[in-house]
Subunit: 356 residues, 2 copies
DNA sequence: AGCAGTTTTGCATTCGAATGCAAAACAAAA
DNA sequence: TTTTGTTTTGCATTCGAATGCAAAACTGCT
């Protein structure tokens, strides 16, 4: 039998009793000793729904308060096989849209009794190490708003770590997803462009490996085709402000007819594009050039920009992501689900009748 | 003696050996069994600097790879009394300056073998619960870029959790701090304003409880006084774009002479202020009105703004914060340190000769 | 008071890795 | 080959809380 000093409950065995060393963190045994009860009782007091008499709870709580006892989440995690940690993977700096989501997700996780273990992912190797780290820390789940290969996802699945994808998914693989589908709104926005006599558009897309980008490009092309608007130029950026500005320059240099409207795959590039048009090319937006984009980040509505854009309901999406991850943690067997939110047009002021 | 099945090392005792259940996560015992060694050996293989023969290491690593074994950070944390978690407290949405720092800090922590446990703090009660949570999770340290009362800080100290403050500190209490002191740059910027014949300035400040705000206000007033520039109006915002815009309106309504320059305590408010001046009041910036501010966030250099501002070296500050927290974790006894970085003027284009 | 039925309580064990100590294996010197 | 010294290895215990099980303490009813 172990001579674990804790195991001795009767306090008569003075020889081995560890005194309440000043500065040492109080454990459930310390509380138990002070309250004159067993460690189990202390444990039960801190576990909601356990059978405990009011009298006992009171005594324990009093002792706990005196010792400033709080259960050790690490030890608890070891025995319950639940860490209450959720890895949140964000891919950093380029898209200023993510911080908003990140803060919201963190808050919601908190409210659900979960903590956010934050990881930044810039590339595939990052993702690799992050997944190993998450595994080491026994995270209960992963919310991924960053790039991840299918193999990496399958590894997580094999390890039975639930994953919720934020604004990305694998088409040919079952997965749990929160997603924003702006196609309806895009359709109406493009129709509006057609009414404003736009015939020629240019497209500034994002990184090809990015799913959101690909989807937006696809639906934009579809919508334009349906409305009889031609794409006269196309260029690729990386979601950043600078790449939006560079994109406009590249479009201007491409031969073919001048577009009257530019469609940017995200707001940040649209802002770069707009600034470039105004301050370098001396164009008026929207009079000389219309611009539309996607995301609806806060900045896009600053008076300098007032972009006509399609907003994603980030708040609701973040909420949904957290709800879904905690559901999957609770019921890992339940089937996958995809929650698709509609976008919302922010009218803005970056479109006007086409120059003829 | 416990009948812990793990404890039996000789594999002859078939009756109690837990088979390598498919899907069950491999433990060090599983690896030990497969490699035909003791659990201790496995443990030592994963602890750098332990005494292990090359032969053994090889055998163990092979088995570990086969079982996809990674040490359980939770269990390790329990015994070593080190969670490798650092709580990062950020106060959210208002100041778009924090995400940049947050991502950088997370990356640096990662590089130092630590993980960021993210908490958002909007008010004092939040701080309270966050501190309890951090305590429960046994974080090795705290990086606080959010509001925290002195009592709360003292509680953390009493619990021997090292804290590094990011851009805030308690003057009358020893603490470890990373800070940016823009006073030199402010001095020269204000001198420049004086040369440009500015005589009357207005100030848009931030929340009074915020230290950075108070410091900036203080040094601004000092610098202005020294350069003989008078403050004709003063108003308080909350660091947000909207409050910057509102601030300008409020200044315009205050009687007293019209200011020729507006000093905003952060970039975000300066941007709101600039947009309001241009699009609502029809003023030209900088021709009719100069604006300067603090922070140097990315956006402040977009062509629509090109703010003349004083940048904080966020990258270096984040790096320093992480270095300091890991030092304090390693050597809790060592004395406090305050690392103060200078700012850097970004010339921008938001100041000009004063209108007469 | 006596008995069955219910609720509380405590005991002992468990989670998975780390580590002090002693035993075992190895290397080097006599 | 024996002895001494050094490095490896394994054993047993530890960290702190949760929990199945059985014992103990209540409850209500006759």
């Amino acid at each position: 039998m172990a001579n674990n000093p804790h195991k001795k409950n009767p306090p008569e065995d003075e020889s081995k009793v560890i005194p309440l060393i000043k500065g040492r963190r109080a454990t459930s045994y310390d509380v138990a000793r002070l309250a004159g009860v067993s460690q189990s009782a202390v444990s039960r007091c801190f576990k909601p729904g356990s059978s405990i008499s009011g009298k006992m709870r009171e005594r324990v709580m009093k002792a706990a308060k005196e010792l400033e006892y709080q259960p050790n989440a690490i030890a608890r995690g070891l025995i319950t096989q639940r860490s209450n940690l959720v890895a949140v993977l964000v891919s950093g700096r380029l898209n200023l849209y993510y911080p908003e989501a990140l803060f919201k997700i963190t808050e919601e996780l908190s409210a659900a009794g979960l903590r956010a273990l934050l990881f930044t992912v810039e590339n595939e190797e990052d993702a690799e190490t992050v997944i190993e780290q998450a595994w080491q820390f026994q995270v209960d789940g992963v919310i991924s708003a960053s790039h991840m290969t299918q193999e990496q996802y399958q590894l997580l699945e094999k390890r039975k770590i639930p994953v919720v994808f934020f604004n990305r998914y694998f088409a040919d693989h079952p997965n749990t997803v929160v997603y924003c589908d702006p196609s309806e709104q895009l359709e109406s926005l493009v129709a509006q462009l057609a009414e404003l006599r736009h015939k020629k558009a240019a497209l500034i897309s994002g990184p090809v490996e990015n799913m959101v980008n690909r989807e937006r490009v696809r639906m934009t092309k579809d919508a334009l085709a349906r409305s009889g608007i031609q794409i006269t130029a196309e260029t690729q950026g990386d979601f950043s402000y600078e790449s939006g500005a560079a994109g406009l320059q590249s479009i201007k240099q491409q031969d073919g007819d001048e577009p009257t409207v530019i469609i940017c795959v995200n707001d940040m590039m649209a802002m770069g594009c707009m600034d470039e048009a105004r301050s370098v090319l001396g164009l008026k937006v929207p009079e000389d050039l219309s611009i539309i984009s996607f995301d609806g980040i806060g900045m896009s509505q600053f008076s300098s920009y007032e972009l006509t854009t399609i907003r994603q309901p980030i708040g609701r999406m973040s909420e949904a992501a957290v709800r879904m991850i905690s559901d999957r943690v609770e019921h890992p067997e339940q089937s996958h689900e995809k929650r698709v939110f509609e976008g919302a047009v922010i009218p803005g002021g970056s479109i006007a009748r086409a120059r003829t």
